[in-house]
């Protein structure tokens, strides 16, 4: 699948609750002969090869080292190539077949479970972020002046923005889960 003709780098940001869009984009790229060789959050490296209809699927899984072989082995046996991983997101691909598109999840419960794993991780890390922000603000209010004060203020602003983004992510992922659940109801 990977030609050695040339490579191309694309920068794109996809939100975690919108990974189906990312899957569709990767498929479109493959149809034009650009096959993913490395993904790193926002930086995608593609190798040029023959255009092909390749289905990409993303899974989110926090794997213990000892479970890794088992996890990847199961996907491999089912015909999926592991292209890469970034921040617990695993990129898989397989050639499209006639009929329905291949899926890595065969029921809605497991599709929802994927987003729940992500949601729980974000929730678990939230208190840590809040405590960090609190300590930054405390030191700022304790009267750190001059350059130190400015750095602390900058840090507090950055942290606040991060927390806002964090909250948006939590809400959007929860909404996505609800949408999947609704879609599955008759």
């Amino acid at each position: 699948m990977n030609g050695d003709r040339s490579t191309r780098v694309a920068w794109r940001l996809f939100w975690a609750w919108n990974d189906e869009k990312e899957e569709r984009w990767l498929r479109e790229m493959a149809k034009q002969g650009w096959h993913l060789s490395r993904a790193a959050l926002v930086r995608f490296v593609f190798d040029q090869g023959e255009p092909a209809d390749v289905v990409y699927k993303l899974d989110y899984n926090i794997l213990a080292k000892r479970d890794r072989d088992e996890y990847l082995g199961l996907f491999r046996a089912a015909g999926w190539e592991h292209v890469g991983e970034v921040a617990n997101w695993h990129y898989f691909r397989t050639l499209a077949t006639t009929g329905a598109d291949p899926e890595i999840f065969s029921d809605v419960e497991s599709r929802i479970a994927k987003y729940k794993r992500l949601l729980y991780l974000l929730l678990a890390l939230l208190p840590i972020s809040l405590v960090s922000l609190q300590s930054l603000l405390d030191r700022r209010l304790a009267g750190a002046g001059g350059a130190m004060g400015a750095i602390l203020a900058g840090g507090a602003v950055a942290y606040t923005l991060l927390l806002v983004l964090w909250s948006v992510a939590l809400i959007r992922i929860a909404m996505h889960i609800r949408k999947l659940r609704r879609r599955s109801e008759p």
Partner: protein, 119 residues
């Protein structure tokens, strides 16, 4: 009703996916063998995705419904084997009985004798 049966009841009802995976693990199998066996037994109707199966195995291990029981070599790869625990066995039995009961009630209500109509 024994303690084990009472404990098993708490897991019901199972999703079709969970029920099939558990039933396939009445004998020790590796993950991919579970996929193949379920597809075969359902005559191609139920095709478990690898993400679905991996997630289910992880959950069932945590719930003590299955255990790992060594490894096997298949297709040049080492694969972990899984099998039902006593509790897992009780859960499959309980769900099996529940489903039979559902079918029996449906037959009674629909006034069907013998079997459901062929599709």
């Amino acid at each position: 009703m024994s303690t084990l049966e009472r404990k098993a009841e708490r897991f019901l009802p199972l999703t079709e996916t969970t029920f099939c995976i558990l039933a396939a693990l009445a004998t020790p199998r590796h993950g991919y063998a579970v996929m193949q066996r379920v597809e075969e037994a359902s005559r191609g109707r139920i095709r478990l995705g690898p993400g679905t199966l991996y997630g289910a195995l992880t959950t069932l291990l945590r719930q003590d419904l299955i255990v790992r029981t060594g490894e096997t070599e298949d297709g040049g790869e080492r694969r972990k084997l899984y099998v039902l625990t006593e509790l897992g066995r009780a859960v499959v039995d309980a769900e099996g009985h529940r489903l039979v009961e559902v079918v029996n009630v449906s037959r009674e209500l629909l006034g069907i004798e013998g079997g459901l109509r062929e599709r």
